[in-house]
């Protein structure tokens, strides 16, 4: 008493769809962190420092151990602006 193959098609679809989301999410995480372990539980200081890394290296996860800042670094500091409510 064999199982008809039509009964297995939905399972194939379920496995494929979960696979697509899983692989897609892990690929996004891997590429977004440039192959390093993701940062977690970041506070304001960490976020500000990562924005500074972005200004120095061009990516949020890029790191540079030397002293010399890239050209124009001293004037690229952004001021956060907000509209006055009153």
């Amino acid at each position: 008493m064999g199982v008809p193959f039509e009964a297995l098609i939905p399972y194939g679809i379920i496995v494929a769809m979960f696979g697509v989301t899983g692989i897609g999410l892990s690929a996004t995480k891997y590429l977004g962190n440039e192959g390093k372990a993701a940062r977690w539980n970041r506070d304001t200081w960490d976020k500000v420092m990562m924005e500074r890394d972005l200004r120095i290296t061009g990516t949020l996860r890029g790191q540079y151990g030397g002293v010399e800042a890239p050209k124009g670094f001293e004037v690229s500091n952004p001021w956060k602006v907000e509209k006055r409510i009153f």
Partner: protein, 159 residues
Amino acid sequence: MSHRQAQFNQHVLVDTTPMPDHIPKVEEIGTTSAPLMSAAYFIGDRCKAFNDDYMKCKAEANGRGELECLKEGRKVTRCAASVIKDINTNCLKQFNAHWECLENNNHHLFECRKAEMDLNQCVFDKLGLKKTIPDTPENVVPVHLRAKQLYSRFPGPQW
């Protein structure tokens, strides 16, 4: 309110006007977060006097510290740059190993004690800078010298 982030801060203002000519120039430090974290205690060891001087100046300037403490600020920048330059020339291998470990472990110092011990040893031998955690009680082992790191991924003996 320095601890509060601006709300709805889509607007960013980048002012590309350079500093006026009558203010002496200083090279900004281009080191990123993980190497700075790694070198922090050595910067603190060599530059404590300059840093304290700057903080005192700012505290006494009644909110005009950004303008009036530029001279002290330049000293702070130059001192930190000298420390990082010295570490890079003398202990590049250990320094790179430590900050790459930090970068892979969410900048948690307690995950990288082995690399940190090597770096501390090298920096102490070559530059004479020692990592001390301020206000550690006399009768306890400082946390970075404990063999077991309770909260790290591998809590057993670290080296």
